[in-house]
C-alpha cells in the first residue's frame, strides 16, 4: 500500500451538470440517507429503551426519551440478578479481552515482521498456512478446541476463553503486509548497515513506524474477542467465569425480559433492563468502530493488495 495514494483524494474534475445527472444525484443521496437512517435506528432505540420503564416501553412512541432516572432504575434492577453477577461478567470481559488484545497484537507484530523482513526458512508455506487459518472462521474450530480444552484440563477456567483468542492469523497477515509494503525495505537495510541486528531493526525502525498497524491489530482483535459467544459458551459453565455476551444470553433465557414463561413476577428484569445490559456489550464495539473509521477507510483491503 502506498499511504500517499490512499489518503489524499484530490478534488475531481468539475463541470456543468445535466438534468439527468442532477436527478441521478438526488436519487443517490436519497438511497444513501435512507440506508444511514436504517443503520442508526436500531442502535438509537437501544440507547433510548432503558430511559423508559416496561409499560412506557410499549405504550410510548418507540423513539421517545423517558427520563435519566430510567437508566438508574434499570441498573438497580439488573443488579438484583444473582447479586450483581453482571458486574462480574463485565469485569471478566474487560480483563480477558485486555489480555487477548495485548498478546495477540504483540505476537502478530513479531510474526509479521519475521515473515516480511528476516531470512526465516519456510516463509512461503507458513504464510499460506496463515492465510488459510485467517479465512476459516474461528467458529469452525469450536468443537475441536472444546476437545483440546477438556484434554488440557482448563475446562471451565478463564484460560479456556482467553488462550484461543490470542491466536490471530489475520493480525499476522496485516503485520506482514504492513512490514513488507508500507515500510520501504531500504530502511531495514540501512539500519543493518549501521550495525543493527534483526531485533534492533525491529525495535528501533519497524515498531516506531507502526502506530497505524498497532491500532488496526488492536481494533480487530478487540472486535472478535469482545463479542465472542460460541466458544466461551461451551467451554465455561460457572457463572463467575463467564463473559458479558454469554451472560447476556443467559439473561435472555432465564429472565422474563425475552422469555415471559420464566419467573414472570420474580425478577425485575424486563425490556429496559435487558436493553441496558445489551448496551454494555454494544457501546464499546460502537466506540471502537467509530474511532477506527479512518483506519477502515484507509483501506484494510487496499493495504493487502495494492502496492
Amino acid at each position: 500500500m502506498t499511504v500517499a495514494a490512499s489518503t489524499v483524494a484530490p478534488t475531481r474534475h468539475r463541470r456543468k451538470l445535466t438534468v439527468s445527472e442532477i436527478s441521478g444525484k438526488t436519487a443517490a443521496w436519497i438511497v444513501m440517507i435512507l440506508f444511514a437512517l436504517f443503520s442508526v435506528i436500531p442502535m438509537s432505540w437501544l440507547i433510548l429503551a432503558p430511559s423508559k420503564n416496561q409499560v412506557e416501553l410499549q405504550s410510548e412512541a418507540p423513539m421517545s426519551f423517558g427520563s435519566f432516572q430510567g437508566y438508574i432504575d434499570a441498573w438497580n434492577n439488573l443488579m438484583v440478578f444473582q447479586d450483581g453477577r453482571l458486574l462480574t461478567w463485565l469485569w471478566n470481559s474487560i480483563w480477558y479481552t485486555g489480555i487477548q488484545v495485548v498478546v495477540a497484537s504483540a505476537v502478530a507484530l513479531l510474526a509479521g515482521y519475521a515473515l516480511a523482513a528476516t531470512r526465516m526458512p519456510f516463509r512461503k508455506s507458513l504464510l499460506i498456512t496463515t492465510l488459510i487459518a485467517m479465512i476459516v472462521p474461528q467458529v469452525a474450530f469450536v468443537f475441536p478446541l472444546f476437545i483440546e480444552i477438556t484434554t488440557l484440563g482448563i475446562y471451565d477456567t478463564a484460560w479456556a476463553i482467553i488462550l484461543p483468542g490470542t491466536f490471530f492469523p489475520f493480525g499476522v497477515f496485516l503485520a506482514y503486509i504492513y512490514f513488507s509494503t508500507t515500510i520501504p525495505p531500504e530502511l531495514y537495510d540501512a539500519a543493518r548497515i549501521d550495525g543493527s541486528g534483526d531485533w534492533g531493526v525491529f525495535w528501533r525502525v519497524a515498531l516506531p513506524l507502526s502506530k497505524g498497524l498497532i491500532g488496526m491489530l488492536a481494533f480487530f482483535s478487540f472486535q472478535v474477542n469482545w463479542i465472542n459467544f460460541f466458544l466461551p459458551y461451551i467451554v465455561v459453565t460457572s457463572g463467575d467465569v463467564l463473559t458479558l455476551p454469554v451472560g447476556l444470553g443467559i439473561l435472555f433465557s432465564s429472565t422474563p425480559a425475552l422469555n415471559p414463561q420464566v419467573g414472570a413476577n420474580v425478577l425485575p428484569i424486563r425490556g429496559p433492563e435487558i436493553a441496558l445490559a445489551g448496551l454494555l456489550v454494544a457501546i464499546p464495539i460502537l466506540l471502537v468502530f467509530l474511532a477506527s473509521a479512518r483506519l477502515l477507510v484507509r483501506g484494510v483491503l487496499a493495504g493487502s493488495v495494492k502496492s
Binding site: 475531481r12 510474526a111 472462521p137 468443537f143 506482514y176 447476556l248 444470553g249 435472555f252
Partner: protein, 301 residues
C-alpha cells in the same frame, strides 16, 4: 564466511520472532484438528465399528438435510444482499466528495455494534410489533402480532436481516476505502473518453474492486455457514424451540451436549471445516487476491 554467519543469525532471529505465533498456530489450530479427527474416528456406543461411522450417522440423521437447506437458503438471501448493497452503496459514496460522506460513513458503522448476542436482542424488539419503531409499517402489511413475523417460514429472512445489518455497513466503508485508492488519472481518462458516471462506476470502478468483493463474499460465506448464535438464542429464549437444530452448528451442538455424542459433533464440524479450507484454498490459489502477498516472499528469496 562472515556473510554466511550473518545469514544464519538472520534465520535464527526470524525463527525466534515467529516462534510465539507458531506455538499458538500449532496449539489452537493444528492440534485441535488432529484431536478432532481422532475423536471422530474413535469407536463408541454410537459408532461401534469406528471408521466413518460417525460421518454416516451425521449424514443420515433426519435433521441434517433440513439444516443444510436452511443454511443454504440463508446464504442465498444473505450473500446477494451483501454483494448488491455493499457494491452499490460504496460506489454511490465514491461519487460524492469525501468530506460530505463522513457522516454517512459513520452512520453505516453504527450497526457494527449490534452483533452476536446484542443483534438478537435488538432485532427481537425491532420486529416485535408492540415495541418496534417500524410497527406502523408492519401494520400496513398486516403484521400486528409477534407471531406474524416470528414464525418458522420467516426465520431465514430474520437471520439474514440480522447478519446483513451487522456486517454490511463496515464492508461498505472498507470497499469505499478501496475505491478511494483508484488513481484519479484513470477515472479522468475515462471521463475524457466520454464515459458518464454510470459507465465509470460499472466499467471501471467495479472491475477494479471485483477481487475485494469476491474476497468479502468468501469471508462472509465462511462465517454464514457457521451460523449458530442467532437461531440458538432465539430458540432458547423468545420463542422456545422455534429454530431448534435449524443450522448445522446447532445440530453439532445438539449431538455433543444433548446426545452426548461428541464423535458425531466433531465429524460434522470437520466436514464443515473441509468446506472452509476448500474455500480458503480457492481464494488463495484461484483468485488474484493474495498474489501480491505471495509475490513479496518470492522476490525476497
Amino acid at each position: 564466511m562472515l556473510k554466511h554467519r550473518a545469514r544464519l543469525m538472520g534465520q535464527i532471529n526470524g525463527i525466534l520472532m515467529f516462534l510465539p505465533y507458531l506455538i499458538l498456530l500449532i496449539t489452537f489450530a493444528i492440534i485441535p484438528i488432529v484431536l478432532a479427527i481422532s475423536v471422530s474416528f474413535e469407536t463408541s456406543l454410537t459408532n461401534p465399528n469406528g471408521g466413518f461411522g460417525n460421518y454416516l450417522f451425521v449424514l443420515q440423521d433426519f435433521r441434517f438435510l433440513p439444516a443444510v437447506l436452511n443454511v443454504s437458503l440463508f446464504l442465498a438471501l444473505y450473500l446477494p444482499a451483501m454483494l448488491i448493497v455493499v457494491a452499490g452503496l460504496s460506489l454511490l459514496l465514491d461519487t460524492i466528495q469525501a468530506k460530505y460522506s463522513v457522516p454517512l460513513r459513520l452512520a453505516y458503522l453504527v450497526p457494527a455494534g449490534i452483533t452476536g448476542t446484542v443483534a438478537i436482542l435488538v432485532w427481537y424488539f425491532m420486529l416485535e410489533p408492540s415495541y418496534s419503531p417500524f410497527a406502523a409499517l408492519f401494520a400496513e402489511v398486516g403484521w400486528t402480532e409477534g407471531n406474524d413475523l416470528f414464525n418458522t417460514s420467516n426465520l431465514v429472512w430474520i437471520f439474514a436481516l440480522m447478519t446483513f445489518f451487522t456486517g454490511a455497513g463496515n464492508w461498505i466503508v472498507i470497499q469505499y476505502g478501496s475505491l478511494q485508492s483508484i488513481p484519479d488519472e484513470l477515472l479522468e481518462a475515462a471521463r475524457i473518453d466520454g464515459a458518464n458516471v454510470w459507465q465509470v462506476a460499472f466499467r471501471i470502478k467495479l472491475p477494479l474492486i471485483r477481487k475485494y468483493l469476491v474476497y468479502m463474499l468468501i469471508l462472509v460465506m465462511a462465517a454464514g455457514l457457521q451460523i449458530f448464535v442467532e437461531p440458538y438464542l432465539i430458540s432458547s429464549s423468545v420463542y422456545p424451540g422455534i429454530a431448534k437444530d435449524w443450522s448445522l452448528n446447532q445440530l453439532a451442538y445438539t449431538f455433543a451436549f444433548l446426545g452426548s455424542n461428541l464423535g458425531a459433533a466433531t465429524a460434522l464440524s470437520l466436514m464443515l471445516l473441509i468446506v472452509m479450507i476448500i474455500l480458503a484454498l480457492f481464494v488463495i490459489f484461484r483468485t488474484d487476491f493474495f498474489d501480491e502477498a505471495k509475490g513479496k516472499i518470492k522476490e525476497a528469496r
